[in-house]
Symmetry: C2
Subunit: 203 residues, 2 copies
DNA sequence: ATATTTGTTGACCATTTAGTTAAACCATAT
DNA sequence: ATATGGTTTAACTAAATGGTCAACAAATAT
């Protein structure tokens, strides 16, 4: 059985599959390429994960489960609004600097197959805006922040944090930044984005 | 010759190709599917556009040439900062509501093949941040807006306007919005986003 | 020791897919 | 009417690709 070795092979496959799927997407990825990356025979892919589709789903769910907890900071935690904005901007950007292809991969595949969202929702582990909505409405009623619809604020928080990774190639072109320079700009955003948002909603 | 018919067929192909490529991306699109969509024989695709790659490039460049002028509003026009933010937010969102797959398509393909940006730049027609940078620096020096790096502000403007389209399936899931409800939320953003940004940079 | 289960491989298969080709079609100029 | 040249089609090809299978290897249980 060699449990140690089992895990090693199965994980090597999953890691290789992540690498390839996140770079090329479901339709651009090739089973042979994943096998090469994992340095195993192509048949082994089918031995551990029956089909390309199932391997893809394993990768996708793993990727999504890295994203969901970050979103939960905003939607489900008990922090104050400012804390949420600051923590999310800082944590998310730090995390994505290490996995820059992840947001693009997830959104790409969700756009290609929007029904997948429903599966994720029914699987649980899918953050929901309700609690956040209450928090915002209360804060507005108490005169702590400017009036703004919770959805709009939520979209803004996501947009300002996620887009810089998805739009990287385009933005780099517009602002003439090298990879290194752009990475510095992203690092600065850990605090800049939070400031920008808070500045906009404070009275 | 039938010049009228020539254009009609060639354009029917390009329209069909847009439809398919923007939905499925380069690697997910099938030449047969494009032919079916255009209601012509597959060989005609190769007659007018030698290969899948060339057909794809025609579609991509056409798509990019719809986006570039919008960005130029922000980077190259002579409007005031507020006018730029208001006009871009309004124009861009209005336009994208009619072409919701466009931003996703462009960013997807640029992420998959970042070298393509260089081609676009060398082809001209690629907006550059320099002028905008000067404008922001001047406005800050004159005490008209809060200090902020031009790149950061520019990224924020793009993020707040573009992300809601790319992230649509995910956001819809988080906020429990139907397609119709989400479209309403996007419409509201035409003015909300501009307010949000201006609120943040004004003194 | 050896039978049994688990892991791994190379060879193979059926299908899909981009691309080709030769013939048919059709409008127009002569 | 008919030759000409662009347009369109059906049939075909070669390569790529996801997936299978039977045999081999290695570990574990008996």
């Amino acid at each position: 059985m060699t449990k140690i070795n089992d895990i090693s092979t199965e994980e090597r496959i999953l890691n290789a599959a992540e690498q390839i799927f996140e770079n090329k997407g479901m339709s651009g990825a090739r089973m042979q390429e994943i096998a090469d990356e994992a340095k195993i025979n192509k048949s082994l892919l089918h031995y551990y994960y029956r089909s390309k589709q199932l391997l893809f789903e394993a990768v996708f769910k793993k990727a999504f489960n890295k994203l969901a907890p970050q979103i939960s900071i905003v939607l489900d935690s008990d922090q104050s609004i400012c804390e949420k904005i600051e923590n999310f901007s800082n944590n998310y950007t730090s995390f994505m600097l290490k996995h820059p292809y992840l947001p693009n991969f997830i959104l790409q595949e969700l756009n290609r197959n929007p029904k997948f969202v429903n599966e994720l929702i029914s699987l649980g582990n899918f953050p929901n805006i309700k609690k956040f909505e209450m928090q915002i409405e209360t804060a507005i009623a108490e005169g702590k922040i400017r009036p703004i619809a919770a959805e709009q604020l939520f979209i803004n928080i996501l947009a300002l944090n996620i887009f810089p990774f998805i739009g990287a190639p385009l933005i780099k072109g517009f602002i003439n930044a090298s990879d290194k320079e752009y990475k510095e700009i992203l690092k600065k955003r850990k605090t800049e984005v939070a400031d920008f948002i808070i500045q906009s909603i404070k009275l």
